[in-house]
């Protein structure tokens, strides 16, 4: 690991100022991703600003504003605490399931909510510094485009990057229409709708998200919804646990008698950002919750997919995963 200056702050304003003053500085929260990447020489900050002492850990009901009745999650709250908070478990069980589908108990105890959003791809070409990678070193090419790309994207990729976003938590947050609150060096807080937070790679795959240098995630807000009785997070992976998703699906349904009022479907492991399946959702609105309708919705969504050489299986897998996640959501969202 390269030498770096270790700085600590207990104040949000000074944290954002420190990062704005030094473009080579990075925030240190849980450390589970940044330290790993520094050991691999992928990330090379010359300063780490330890923000773990900032008081941004609370989970609380939102009592005013646009998201009134929803919940606000502190950017520096730990993944474990968030997943197990009574308010989240009872009102947003989809988020609990998604967080618990990711990583291991040890990592969830360390990792923060903001850090989960900002974690980087686990594409092996990104991690291996001897390989070309436009995300790590713009202009060097994409090793995965014609390489081993079994784990890679089927939606929204570009010739420059076919990496996927690794988070489970973010897939649930995308489905729940979360809003990311970020604060910059000017002290002002801006709200970023979750769909606009992460980016597709395009010509600038080095940018994972729309956060500016020095900006810090202070909280994530989830608006009130009626999905708690019928939601499910399905994760399909090579091992039963502690593996990144081949495909994952966050599904949530709101019913009126036999009719779907609205359905939310988001996918992980398929794109550079959590992939909101808007086409499937559009199809399902107003329909009956039957397996045939779920299948048709899934096929409509997966029709837009463009697989790479080694991940064609994700089309049928993704289709079946959407059907199963919606079916499990309808059945009360219980793990079997």
């Amino acid at each position: 690991m390269r030498p770096f200056k270790y700085s600590v702050t207990s104040n949000v304003n000074s944290a954002t100022k420190m990062l704005t003053a030094n473009p080579n500085a990075k925030f240190l929260a849980g450390g589970t991703n940044i330290l790993d990447l520094m050991k691999e020489d992928v990330e090379r900050p010359d300063e780490l600003v330890d923000i773990t002492q900032l008081s941004l850990t609370l989970i609380k009901p939102i009592t005013e504003g646009m998201n009134k009745g929803g919940v606000s999650i502190g950017g520096l709250g730990k993944n474990t605490g968030t997943a197990n908070h009574p308010l989240i478990r009872q009102s947003f069980p989809l988020l609990t399931q998604a967080i618990l589908a990711g990583a291991s108990a040890q990592i969830r105890n360390m990792a923060t909510n903001g850090g989960n959003l900002n974690q980087r791809t686990r594409c092996p070409y990104f991690y291996e510094v001897s390989m070309p990678c436009n995300k790590r070193e713009p202009g060097t090419g994409c090793g995965a485009l014609e390489g081993i790309n079994r784990m890679h994207a089927v939606f929204g990729w570009s010739e420059n990057c076919v990496a996927v976003h690794p988070s489970d938590m973010c897939v649930a947050l995308a489905a729940l229409d979360a809003v990311v609150k970020v604060q910059g060096a000017n002290g002002q807080i801006r709200s970023v709708p979750f769909a606009d937070y992460h980016r597709l790679p395009g010509d600038t795959p080095q940018k994972d998200n729309n956060l500016n240098q020095g900006e810090l995630i202070t909280s994530i807000e989830i608006p009130k919804n009626n999905f708690a009785p019928k939601s499910y997070y399905l994760k399909v992976r090579d091992r039963a646990s502690y593996a990144f998703a081949l495909v994952s699906v966050a599904a949530a349904i709101e019913m009126n008698a036999n009719q779907i009022i609205q359905a939310r479907v988001a996918m992980g492991g398929v794109a550079h950002k959590p992939w909101r399946a808007f086409e499937a959702e559009k199809f399902l609105a107003g329909k009956e919750a039957t397996e045939a309708n779920f299948r048709q919705a899934a096929e409509i969504e997966m029709k837009q997919a463009k697989p790479l050489e080694h991940n064609k299986f994700k089309i049928e897998l993704g289709t079946r995963a959407i059907v199963l996640a919606l079916t499990k959501a309808m059945n009360g969202g219980k793990a079997s």
């Binding site: 690991m1 030498p3 770096f4 200056k5 270790y6 240190l28 450390g31 589970t32 330290l35 790993d36 050991k39 691999e40 020489d41 780490l48 330890d50 773990t52 474990t80 997943a83 197990n84 009574p86 478990r89 009872q90 069980p93 609990t96 399931q97 618990l100 589908a101 990583a103 291991s104 108990a105 040890q106 990592i107 105890n109 360390m110 708690a228 994760k235 091992r239 039963a240 646990s241 502690y242 009360g332 969202g333 219980k334 793990a335 079997s336």
Partner: protein, 267 residues
């Protein structure tokens, strides 16, 4: 950091590398501090900067093993950070390089070598320790972030010569073969008992919406919750048995035994 505490000589390895890399006679480099800096500079110029850092690291760590716990490091630390924390109930205060992980600090500075370095990338769980009651990966924790915290390692579990119940259960159920992952497995399992008591749910918990309360863990739950600890010998069934016994408080049948005297004569 005082001059007295700095290394007085180059090691054999360093001298040898000098010989290979420098044109001038190494004996001319009489000031060893200057020599060290030159060495680092030269080796960096020679394109071996990372190698040099690793070598220096190894040398520094090896040398510090015999130091009193609170002694300063024998060389100037770049980006030194003081960390004052509790390890297994004992207060410690030491200066570390900002890059030092908690794992390296425990093993190389505090002589607590029970916590193991498996992958050093947060993928195997061998380095699991308990910080402020929570199991974490010490290989992905910077020592600098541990000030004010309380760390429990495998060495801190036994009390007054009595094994922790989880240690005893791992012995009873033969929850290991080579033993390398065992300290991490046991620390992880000990913290898991608290998590279950607190009613924390997992990905395989049937319904996460139920009100938090103490949970009875099934084998499936234990496996899911222990998935961050890899055992390449494959002692998983025995590890599950050990954890189940401690968690339930009910004896789980032991599936092996030592041979008795009569049996031993028949072998």
């Amino acid at each position: 950091m005082t001059e007295e505490n700095q290394n007085q000589e180059l090691t054999e390895d360093e001298k040898q590398l000098f010989g290979q890399l420098l044109c001038e006679d190494q004996n001319d480099l009489t000031d060893f501090n200057e020599a060290r800096r030159n060495f680092l500079k030269q080796i960096t110029l020679a394109g071996g900067g990372i190698l040099a850092m690793q070598m220096f690291g190894g040398e520094v760590f090896a040398r510090s093993i015999n130091d009193p716990l609170n002694a300063e490091l024998p060389v100037n630390l770049e980006n030194a950070v003081n960390v004052a924390f509790k390890v297994n109930g004992v207060k410690k205060s030491l200066d570390v390089d900002s890059r030092m992980t908690l794992l390296d600090t425990l093993r190389e500075r505090l002589q607590l070598t029970g916590s193991k370095k498996g992958c050093d990338h947060g993928q195997c769980g061998a380095c699991t320790v308990i910080v402020d009651g929570k199991r974490v990966l010490s290989c992905l924790t910077l020592a600098a972030t541990c000030t004010g915290k309380s760390v429990t390692t495998i060495e801190g579990l036994a009390k007054g010569g009595e094994l922790h119940p989880m240690q005893a259960a791992f012995l009873k159920h033969d929850g290991f073969q080579c033993g390398y992952c065992t300290p991490g497995q046991i620390c992880s399992a000990v913290a898991l008992m608290t998590e279950a008591k607190n009613g924390e749910v997992s990905y395989v918990t049937p319904d996460v919406r139920v009100k938090p309360g103490s949970l009875q863990l099934t084998d499936n739950e234990i496996r899911e919750r222990m998935s961050g600890n890899i055992c390449r010998c494959g002692a998983y069934p025995n590890i599950v048995d050990a954890i189940k016994e401690v968690h339930s408080g009910k004896a789980v049948a032991q599936t092996w035994d030592f041979v008795d005297q009569k049996q031993s004569t028949q072998i």
